[in-house]
């Protein structure tokens, strides 16, 4: 699947998006993403161009976009399948690069590209145990929240895929074929 990084994003967001897409592409037998270049101008959700872009979700309330989310992914089905998607990141959130109190750009993008690859949220707890016994690095990329049940930020650890993430995307790829 090809995509464009939009001019609304600065270099940190663009770089994080590219790294996140590469993480999924590296899964053998999974879904591969390739960056076609940079896009600019208006974004049309549902057109043939897959854009990754930065915007203020409050500005998009009249389109039905809630103000709370950190990011969103739209999948656009055409002719029984989908090959296009758009990823939005919310400018009102606090973003950074690394394991801090902010949202990790690359981690959140890895989660969003997982949706673009056809995966839904996966709220299962790793190791089938209680949150106090789970190292935060074990949370799968497609975990539905940016914090684990004890409130610790896990977005940095979304950068690396866990077993469930990889097996899920392989299953999607097999289904398509």
């Amino acid at each position: 699947m090809s995509y464009y990084t939009h001019s609304s994003m600065g270099s940190s967001f663009k770089s994080a998006a590219t790294s996140a897409a590469s993480t999924w592409s590296a899964v053998s037998g999974g879904i591969s993403f390739s960056k076609k270049g940079d896009s600019s101008g208006g974004v049309v959700v549902g057109d043939a161009r897959s854009d990754v872009f930065y915007c203020n979700f409050a500005d998009l309330a009249s389109l039905g976009i809630p103000t709370y989310p950190n990011a969103a992914t739209a999948i656009i089905p055409t002719a029984g399948r989908y090959s296009n998607f758009d990823i939005f990141v919310n400018s009102t959130k606090t973003w950074g690069d690394g394991n801090g109190t902010y949202l990790d750009r690359q981690g959140i993008f890895t989660h969003e590209f997982g949706h673009a690859a056809g995966l839904d949220e996966n709220s299962s707890l790793p190791l089938n145990t209680t949150p106090d016994r789970i190292p935060i690095s074990y949370y799968q990329t497609m975990y539905p929240h940016d914090t684990e049940p004890l409130g610790r930020n896990i977005t940095y650890y979304f950068r690396s895929l866990e077993y469930d993430d990889e097996s899920g995307v392989k299953a999607v790829a097999a289904k398509i074929k």
């Binding site: 101008g41 389109l63 809630p66 709370y68 055409t78 539905p144 469930d164 299953a171």
Partner: protein
């Protein structure tokens, strides 16, 4: 193994969405193509959810009023303005019980058009809404926590439409009243 099957099941649904594109209802002669949206949200406290909403009410979803492509302006990191166009769906809601905010006879809820599988016509929901004052419509504050289905009309149990977490309606009403009283002091 169980987890994987669940994921594939969901993903299959995503792929299958396109199969019915020819059957979508056309209203006002505007054809939009439904999309599937995934929103990644932080989980917020009930207090914060209540405070951030302009309106909280129990509604009955009466009908789909309109489907159309809409455009809004936003700003990038570089400070430059650009437009975003998306397919939207507007639901007509009938208020059953108002918990916070202005009472109206009818409310228009605008959402990204994701087909008809998200909100069910005829069902009752407790919604946390933001007012789009310029056009008189409302938007959910949160997809994960702002849309709560009334599980049984006689019961007090609410369930979030996406994450399937339960809340007690009477407790929610009490919490809203407490927060309202503390704001007035």
């Amino acid at each position: 193994m169980k987890k994987n099957i669940l994921i594939v099941t969901c993903s299959t649904l995503v792929i299958g969405l396109g199969i019915g594109t020819g059957a979508y209802v056309k209203l006002n002669a505007v054809e939009t193509q439904p999309i599937k949206m995934n929103f990644s949200e932080s989980k917020v406290s009930q207090d914060e959810l209540i405070k951030s909403a302009d309106v909280i009410a129990k509604y009955k979803v009466e009908a789909i009023k309109e489907r159309k492509n809409k455009t809004a302006k936003t700003v990038g990191e570089d400070g430059k303005e650009f437009s975003v166009t998306a397919p939207t769906i507007i639901y007509k809601l009938k208020p059953i019980e108002n918990l916070k905010g202005t009472k109206t006879d009818e409310t228009d809820l605008v959402m990204i058009d994701n087909g008809n599988d998200f909100i069910k016509i005829g069902e009752e929901y407790v919604m946390f809404l933001k007012n789009n004052k310029s056009e008189g419509t409302y938007t959910l504050t949160s997809y994960n926590q702002g849309l709560n289905m009334v599980k049984q009309k006689s019961s007090d149990e609410l369930e979030t439409a996406i994450t399937k977490e339960t809340t007690n309606y009477t407790d929610l009403k009490q919490k809203i009243k407490e927060l309202s009283n503390s704001n007035q002091k």
